[in-house]
Symmetry: C2
Subunit: 115 residues, 2 copies
């Protein structure tokens, strides 16, 4: 089926999720938005990238979950040079705080076709 | 340390994440908001509940990640009667679409204290 905008079309589990929660500091919105778009486009080219879902509220708190075929794919993305440099910049310039959690998705359900 | 608002203070992994992505249909906002608050308060009383992070954008797409100590804790919450009834109502009345993924968190990093 075709999913509504915003949802990642994923294969059946198992696969991996990188859950990135962040609070923007409100600074450099143009630079941040450009980098976010660029990183998403870059991730889509990575081997093992499955999809991502992202949302940020008006208070600056956001959650992005990216999905990957394997731990090796996550590791390769972590060490991709442009991503690593952008991440280092973001750590110091864009986020008041963030938390990152790596998880193995074991099962999944949707409305209505898989639920 | 004290985390900024929005972030869940969690123990070290392993623990479990329930990743709920949803698109609101725009209907019954008062009923939805009341139920969301009530379900969060109810979850906080469940054994094994560790915390949750939630955000919804102005386009109606949202991600809520709740964290649990064990698969058994997730199962107990799934079968909690008030939660089950509210979930069934929501499936038919509040969401244009949703996806739910259950994952085991294997590692976690934060800024700056754990990163």
């Amino acid at each position: 089926m075709t999913l509504p905008p915003g949802f990642a079309a994923l294969p059946d589990p198992p696969y991996y999720a990188v859950i990135f929660s962040s609070l923007r500091n409100g600074e450099d919105e143009p630079g941040y938005a450009e980098a976010a778009d660029r990183m998403l486009a870059l991730a889509e080219q990575q081997p093992g990238y499955l999809g991502a879902e992202t949302v940020r509220g008006s208070d600056g708190f956001g959650i992005t979950v990216s999905y990957w075929a394997s731990e090796a794919a996550i590791s390769a993305w972590k060490h991709q040079a442009d991503h690593a440099a952008t991440r280092a910049h973001g750590r110091n310039h864009w986020y008041a705080h963030f938390e990152l959690r790596v998880a193995k998705v074991e099962r999944a359900y949707g409305k209505p076709t898989r639920g």
